[in-house]
Each structure stands twice: as structure tokens, then as C-alpha cells.
Symmetry: C2
Subunit: 362 residues, 2 copies
């Protein structure tokens, strides 16, 4: 399947979604005049489980690896600077192609590195997780974290190409896969009730990696993401709907030092909180929320929050990028498949929503 994402006039890029696509990598790159050298940024886990496939695909080409530790903590100033040094030492010039080979963390880190080296190198995303294939590899957002706030340092930077090969997901650890379901469920709530219908009846098939269901699911998320970011690349309006579940989700990640939760898990918790807020405000149907809850629970994405304190979550919300002035904005469902932005949610309501998820038992 081939999609196109129209960014600013000269920055349109293709998204190739193809079972086994990685094997055709060299031909695909060359057809886009991306002849290398290739600088592959990946993490230790992905390198271990997947590098042979990539080595084979790039056989004979000029390529090298830079391997970072797995996990959100690699989206740091330190790892970013190491990549700059790596590129400089290896003599990367404007012909260089940076390949982000991994999940959302690698896409963000390698993307921000490519965007800031020599004012921008060619970037190719090869997402290797469910979350990055269905969501984060598309849309040009790249970033690293400030010690005090996630994704605070970043830019909008279009890749030249995204190559999504779902066969890579076969070796994904179960927890990682479930976390990715968090963002996929989000696409159901914000834009496509059929995604939720499918998951309601088949989530076990998806979780046991039935090729047909997994492929259907990703191929359904990609065009939603494309449509939203095409209409609003810089997040001045529509794109904000993608933040459903992210206001409290980001705060959970930050309050737990980016160590406890995967991003998709935090979003899963954040969707519960947002759904609860919508019900409390009589904006949405309670039965629909019950259905959503069941899907989220069965996705396996609700990783236990441990001894997390409400106050720490509330504190973390203070640095939210999406706030304007002093009020917090929330994306809340008004129907299944349709969300709206609610401004100025009072502190005590936010606190109650956080209380709801901290007490949530399933």
C-alpha cells in the first residue's frame, strides 16, 4: 500500500506500507534518489533482533550504525549530541541519509538529529513498532526531552520517506505491542468507530499477531494520521485532536521519570481519564465509555501505575506544551469517532480525573 503525505509544497513524502517491504529497501531508496551513505540510528534491542534484515537489505551500500540504549531516556541532550558527533566524525555531508530504525523514541531522536545537523539531512523512517508504524513515523514531529518536560526541544521536520513493514512487528515483545494498541485505539475514538468495532471482537487475534488483523489495523490508522497532519501540520487547530489521551498521558510519563510506562501505555491511561471527564460533563454516552474501557483493558496497555501520587501528576501537568496561559486544554469525545477541544478544565476536575485512574482496578 502506498500513501502520500502532502506537507509544505516541496516536502511531500511517501509512506510505503508493505509486508516484507524491508527486503526491497535498497531499490526503494534508490528510486527516491537517496543513494547514501546511510547513517542508521537504532537502539540496542532493535539492533539485536533486526539488524541482520537491514544488513541484508543494504548489502553493498555504504552504511553504518549508531546504537543508543533503548527507552525514552535516550531522547536526551546527551544522546542527541553523540549523534551529532557520530555524523561529524563519519564525515556526513548533505548527501547523507539518516535512517531512523526503531520505535517512536528512535524516530524522534534520529529525526531531531537529522533536522538539526547541517540545517537538515535527508531522513528516512523505518518504524519497527506498532505505535510508530500506525502513528509516530508520520507527521513530521521530532523531539528530545528536556529533563523537566517531554518533547520540549524539537521541530517539525518531514522525512523523505517512510517505509513500514509490518513483518518487523513479529519479534516485538508483547508489552511493546500492547502499548502500541493504545495509540491505535485512540484513532478509533477520534475518527473511526470501525477500528473500535474490530478491536471489540478481535483484540485477541490482534494481540496474537494475526497478520490479517494487524495489517488491517495499521492500514486504517495511517490515512487518519495523514489526513489530520495534512490539514494542520503545525498543530494550530485540527491536529490537536491527536492529543486525545495525551494531556494526562504525558503527565504520567513525566511523573514516573519516563521509566515506568511506555508512551502508548500512558496514552491508554490518559484516554481513560479523558473519557471519564467527558462522561462527567455529560458530553458523551456512558455505554460508549464502558465499551472503550473494556477494549483498553483487554489491549493489555494499562500497565500498573504502582505507588504514583496524584500530586506528582498534577505538578507534571504544569509544563504541558498544549496549555496556553494558565488553563489546561483537553481533547474529549462528544461521540465515538468525534472529539472536541475543551479549554479551561478546572483544577478540581483534573484532580478528580487523575484520582479516577489512580484508583482504577480491572
Amino acid at each position: 500500500m502506498e500513501f502520500t503525505c502532502k506537507a509544505f509544497s516541496d516536502r511531500t513524502y511517501k509512506i510505503l506500507f508493505e509486508w516484507g517491504g524491508l527486503r526491497r529497501l535498497r531499490a526503494i531508496l534508490e528510486s527516491e534518489k537517496l543513494n547514501g551513505p546511510y547513517f542508521i540510528i537504532t537502539d540496542k534491542n532493535v539492533y539485536k533482533s533486526q539488524h541482520r534484515n537491514l544488513d541484508d537489505a543494504l548489502q553493498g551500500a555504504d552504511f553504518c550504525y549508531h546504537i543508543v540504549p533503548p527507552g525514552e531516556n535516550s531522547k536526551s541532550f546527551k544522546e542527541w549530541r553523540r549523534i551529532q558527533n557520530f555524523l561529524l566524525e563519519r564525515g556526513a555531508d548533505r548527501r547523507a541519509v539518516v535512517i531512523a530504525f526503531g520505535g517512536g523514541v528512535i524516530g524522534d531522536l534520529a529525526g531531531f538529529s537529522a533536522s538539526t545537523y547541517m540545517r537538515g539531512l535527508n531522513l528516512v523512517q523505518i518504524p519497527t513498532t506498532l505505535l510508530s508504524q500506525s502513528d509516530s513515523s508520520i507527521g513530521a514531529k521530532v523531539a528530545i526531552n528536556h529533563p523537566e518536560a517531554k518533547n520540549m526541544i524539537g521541530s517539525f521536520y518531514q522525512p523523505r520517506l517512510v517505509i513500514s513493514d509490518p513483518s518487523l512487528l513479529q519479534t516485538l515483545p508483547a508489552r511493546e505491542f500492547s502499548a502500541g494498541l493504545g495509540e491505535a485505539i485512540k484513532y478509533g475514538v477520534i475518527a473511526d468507530p470501525e477500528i473500535l468495532e474490530m478491536l471489540r471482537y478481535n483484540i485477541e487475534h490482534v494481540r496474537s499477531f494475526n497478520q490479517e488483523y494487524v495489517t488491517w489495523l495499521i492500514s486504517r490508522c495511517i490515512p487518519i494520521k495523514i489526513r489530520v497532519v495534512e490539514e494542520d501540520e503545525r498543530e494550530t487547530g485540527l491536529r490537536k485532536i491527536l492529543n486525545f489521551g495525551h494531556t494526562i498521558g504525558h503527565a504520567l510519563e513525566q511523573a514516573t521519570g519516563y521509566q515506568l510506562l511506555r508512551h502508548g501505555e500512558a496514552v491508554a491511561w490518559g484516554m481513560l481519564a479523558a473519557g471519564w471527564l467527558a462522561i462527567r460533563r455529560n458530553m458523551w454516552n456512558a455505554d460508549e465509555f464502558e465499551k472503550l474501557k473494556l477494549i483498553i483493558v483487554r489491549s493489555g496497555a494499562l500497565y500498573p501505575l504502582g505507588a504514583l501520587k496524584s500530586r506528582d501528576v498534577i505538578d507534571a501537568l504544569k509544563h504541558d506544551k498544549k496549555k496556553t496561559g494558565k488553563s489546561l486544554n483537553f481533547v474529549l469525545p462528544e461521540a465515538t469517532g468525534k472529539v472536541t477541544i475543551v479549554r479551561d478544565v478546572p483544577q478540581d476536575e483534573v484532580r478528580a480525573a487523575v484520582g479516577y485512574i489512580l484508583k482504577f482496578r480491572h
Copy 2:
């Protein structure tokens, strides 16, 4: 005078060039819906000599200063991170307006900071030097330096507005002013022989800050810069002509640790080297080169190179961003007002050109 620079569709910005324009700052900002808060990045020298004017212009508005040491060494990872912390501590959100108040260094540093904070804050350039008013504040290039290579870390990031008030140049130290003439002379060579004609007969008036000549000179450079960057914002073709004098210029800056020379001074030396190469290659008229030499000498921009060694300059050339593969590209004049890109200039010719300027006496 009002100019418009058309960047990608949604990123067009105005350049206001106006004697005394700073006094109207608040009204100008508000007419562009840039209502603040304002985060002003400046250096110690500019702060000392100019902050009262800016304080007056912003009276009653919400603004604060972040002051960095003067000089190229402030374009560092460290100062960039300090600005990120400053913005975060002060609670900058997406309404924030970063004002770059200073010369090229401040424009680059504040611009890169604005471009990378929350994936991009509003940026206003208020250039306070001849170089930044006639050249660097326009064109969206922002960057910091890697310890081993100038401007290696950066991006293309359009300001929302540029406000150039030549009255600010009255307090500029003579050396800074002469350095700025380096880039102005460049515009003569690459695009506008009348600039060189004017300077040939009136450079003393310009250097003694005759309001009429200075205003004419800047107003002549701005539209050239706009025209070039509009046609080729990302420097894939035409924009490269702006690098006349910059190949060896950058190497001189790097070989002297960014301490000895102002950027415009390095460019002045670099233009001598490039002119010499053009003559040696029979590309350009020797009389024209003599005229150019005289203007450069009389501009005061040829700050002595001291004990600089040829080998250090050659080493520094290895990290040039403009190289593709192993060859060095030079921008060389083929007529006064017209330059072309010459690829693959052999090492020994480059060495000879460096030797020429190291031995140059005036």
C-alpha cells in the same frame, strides 16, 4: 521601507527597514498579532548600549531579557541550553515571542533556540549591526557551532518579522561596522555592481556613518538577499552564491577559534582569496579584482591574521558544510555582479589561495 520575503506558503514575513522604527515596535508587533510575552535574547554589549531604547519601546508590555556574552563563542550548546532553561523557567508557551536583539551571533543563537523550543516559537529579528541588517537577519538560517565546525547544528526557521532600524548602528563600534561592510561588499560582487561603484567613491562617508549613504547601502542589500532566498530557501542551488568569500572565510574563523575575527572580516579575507582564484583561472578581469581589493582594504574589514598557519586553514576546510563528497566548492566571480559555482578546485590551488591572503600586505 517595507519588504516581504515569501518563504513556504504559510511562512511569508515582513522586513521593515525604517530609521527610528524601534520606537514604533509595540504597535508593529501588535499589528502582527505578536502580543507577547516577549523573551529578549541579547548580548552584554548590545544590552548596555541599547536596552533603554528597547525598554521604552516595550513599556507596559510583558517582557524579560536573557543576556549572553558577546562574540561567536556564544553560539554554543551551552548557551543554547541556557536559553531553553530560561524559556522553560519563565513559563514560555506558544504565545511567546522570542526577540533576537543583536548582531548575527544573537540572530543565529536566539533563532535556533526559538526554532527548537516546543517545536518552534514566534521569532522576531531586531538586528543591531550592519551585517545583520543587510544580510543575516533575512533568510531563515539559524545555527549554533559544533566545537569542530561552525554553524554545523542549525535549521531553516523563518522569523515572523524583521525590524531593521539603522539608527541603532550609530553606537556600533567602528570595527563591528567595518566587518559588516564585508558582507555588503559581497552583495556588490555577486549581484549589484552599483554597490561597488558607490563604495569606491564614498566608503569614507559610509564609515563615518553618513545617514544617507548607510541607508542606501542597506536598502540595496536587503532586496538582493530576499530575491536569492525566495528562489532557493533551502540552499539547493542559487542560494549558494551567498557563500562567496565564505569557503575560506569560515575556515579562517574556525582556524582562529572564532576568537580573532568577526564573521564579516573573515568573509572580507575570503573574498580576496576567491577573487585571486578567479583571476588565476582566467575567469574574471584583473582590473576588476584590483578595484575590489581597494574597496576591501579601505573598508577596514581586513583585520590582521596574526601568526595564522596555512596548514590550520586547510585542516579547517575539511569540515566545510558546502562540500559534497571530497571536493570543495567555491563561488567565484565571472563578472562583477555575477558569480558561479566552481566544483572540484584542486587542493594545491586552494593552498595557493590561502598562501596569497596570508602574505597579503596593504
